[in-house]
Amino acid sequence: MTKNQWFKRLVAVMAIAMIAVACGDGSGSDTTLAEGSDTTAAPDTTAAAEPTTTAGSTETTAAAGEGFVIGYSNGGGVGNGFREEQVCTAKAEALASGQVTELNQIHRNTDAAGQLSDIRDLIAADVDAIVFNPNDPEALNPALEEAAAAGIPTVSVDAFVTHEGTYNLYNNQIEYARLGAEWLFEQMGGEGNVYYMRGFAGHPADTDRHTGFQQALENYPGITVIPSIDGEHTGWDPATTTQLINDWIASGQYGDTNGIWTSGMDSQVVDAIQQANLEFVPIVGADLGAYVAQLLDAEGFAGLEGSAVTNTAAVGGAGVNLALKLLNEETVETAADAAQPNTVLLDPVLADNVTDEGRATLESWQVDGLDPLWPLGLTIEGWTTYTPEQAVACLGPGE
């Protein structure tokens, strides 16, 4: 083989190798809100832990007051506003707590097997506690068991895992849907047709929200859900959402619609209705920057009546806070009625643009410099100690 041929082959190999690694690990940043539901953060989300009181972990690897090393694993949604904000709040909490010397974070798109590997790496890295956003409720249990055996407390944020020793901290999605649905049904006077735009089929948050929506519906016999009680799934994808609402408008069914419930894909629906020059019907969405801006823009979106329900992404920061509580052997209040033991549920808050109080709340949620695709709620009372500015700065210890 000639030298020239070898070089050609070499170049081809280099190109393929680069593409393979660049794409293969999936750290690409598609900026879509693919996980729209997980996509809201509430400014003043209430810390909703209730009844049962459980003692914090007694297995501490570093004495209270010393610097801890916290491991953080986020196994998906790189580029997604909710996930990015979640990681930044974790950094901010680690920094603001003054107790963390290092936040060792693995923030990448991967599958459950990949996250298993990441958590094992964090165990091998000898971190004091691990906070993670799980890719699956059960698949990570072997690694979590290994962490428990090594005396490392684990905290799952944004969704629960079924591992017994792990603490779960996430938004109460049943309450999220119920709050918004009740506001909407009231706004419609208790009767009429509601277009039901759900999230990602099969996602635990979507399933929980469906439960909450149905709970609200039971008290409003005059409300009819269209196209059916199963709703339409947006996949928490902006493009799919836009397609769905445009199809709905084009088919003429918008004329029979008296209200729209969305699972966090909201500003796209408002935009589509406005572009079609149609009158707005009451709408429920999440506390995403773009949607809240629409609600507050009385001139740009005349006649728009809507409410935003919080779904805080500050669970990242709250998870670090919880991990520190466990390391310091502090008492943690957990919810008695949650699906899993050791669970802290965060209750959502609703604000609308039809009352002065609601508008004032929406106004108060605004944070300077926040990415419009990020949820607005940056802090959680009782669970985060950083300032909103620290979250926006997105700097952890030592950075």
Binding site: A17, M18, A20, N104, A112, A113, I123, A124, A125, A201
Partner: protein, 334 residues
């Protein structure tokens, strides 16, 4: 035909003894093993507590991708490429998870056998389509990527199912010594038991022959179409092993394919398999997978930003391939 069956640079090999010959033939793989050993030492220096538990975790982590790399290597050796490896893994994983959920441990044995046979069928379909339609491998397997991924979603709409306990035990923990992970042993035994006999048989020669030069192979009496179908069948079989290990290590089936296809191509390249076909083996890519995984672990130990770690991983991959190729080039010059 003689020039078509080399795994390394047999054609230029000089008679310098069996050991020298072996080193020359497996130079790339041995080089990779050297890199891996150095990397293990570096890992220990970075993280002094890294020990048997870390090695066990590493072995479990690499298992699915290692099987995927073997699957890809066989397709590439036969001058093909299979972009549907990840989707076949997803499909076989969800089928096994769906069938094993809440069933007896004995029934799981039948499921494993059935899923491996299914893997062979999936691969054979890929191969048959390629030889029948004469559409390039990359196009057919790209199309089948969507077909198999869609089938996986039809089987399980969301992650779920279960895994037999014995299957989970088979891939976890260690055997004899804490430093010998069961997962590593399982991988080596399965790959060796299937690949070595094939490699030494007429079929193995045919695989390398059609990879090196299909026309020459055809003129030498090798059935190119049949060999290609067999190559893709083997790719399907190893993809099914990869899918089963996904189910075994996570305890569930995930219908959305993970990032395994492109990573398997990266491992094949780093593992010394020529993308032009006919050159390389399956053990190089396995070592490459371990190296890639250990690199990521080291980045975690060093708390390197994950995005930078990905860039660094890519650059290291390119660097190793480039240096290796230049060394081979120098060796070949008169």
């Amino acid at each position: 035909m003689s020039t078509t069956v080399d795994t390394a640079d047999q054609s230029t090999a000089r008679p310098i003894g069996a050991l020298g010959s072996m080193i020359r033939r497996h130079g790339w793989t041995l080089g990779l093993v050297g890199i891996l050993l150095v990397l293990l030492v570096v890992t220990r220096l970075i993280q002094p507590t890294y020990g048997a538990a870390g090695v066990q975790g590493l072995a479990v982590s690499v298992l699915p991708l290692a099987f995927a790399a073997v699957a890809q290597a066989i397709a590439v050796i036969a001058r093909g490429i299979d972009l549907s490896v990840g989707s076949m893994m997803a499909l076989t994983s969800v089928i096994s998870a769906a069938l094993m959920e809440e069933r007896s441990e004995g029934f799981a044995v039948l499921v494993v056998i059935g899923v491996l046979l299914l893997g062979c069928v999936l691969g054979a379909v890929n191969g048959s389509l390629i030889v029948l339609t004469r559409v390039p491998d990359i196009v057919v397997t790209l199309a089948m990527l969507f077909v198999w991924a869609g089938c996986a979603l039809l089987v399980l709409g969301t992650p779920g199912g279960g895994s037999a306990e014995w299957l989970r035990t088979l891939t976890g923990g260690s055997i004899v010594s804490a430093w010998i992970p069961r997962a590593a042993l399982l991988l080596l035994v399965i790959v060796a038991a299937i690949w070595i006999p094939i490699r030494r048989s007429r079929l193995g020669l045919s695989l390398y022959a059609i990879g090196s030069d299909p026309l020459a192979a055809y003129r030498s009496g090798v059935s190119v179409t049949r060999t290609k179908i067999v190559a893709y069948t083997l790719t399907g079989l190893f993809s099914a092993f990869a899918g089963l290990t996904l189910t075994a290590t996570t305890g569930i089936g995930t219908p959305v394919p993970g990032p395994y296809t492109l990573l398997s191509v990266a491992a094949v390249v780093l593992g010394g398999v020529s993308l032009a076909g006919g050159r390389g083996g399956v053990f190089g890519p396995i070592v490459a997978v371990v190296i890639l995984s250990l690199l990521r672990t080291d980045m975690t130990f060093l708390n390197v930003n994950t995005n930078l770690a990905t860039v660094a991983q890519g650059l290291i991959l390119v660097g190793v391939v480039m240096v290796g190729s230049l060394l081979q080039l120098r060796k070949r010059e008169p």
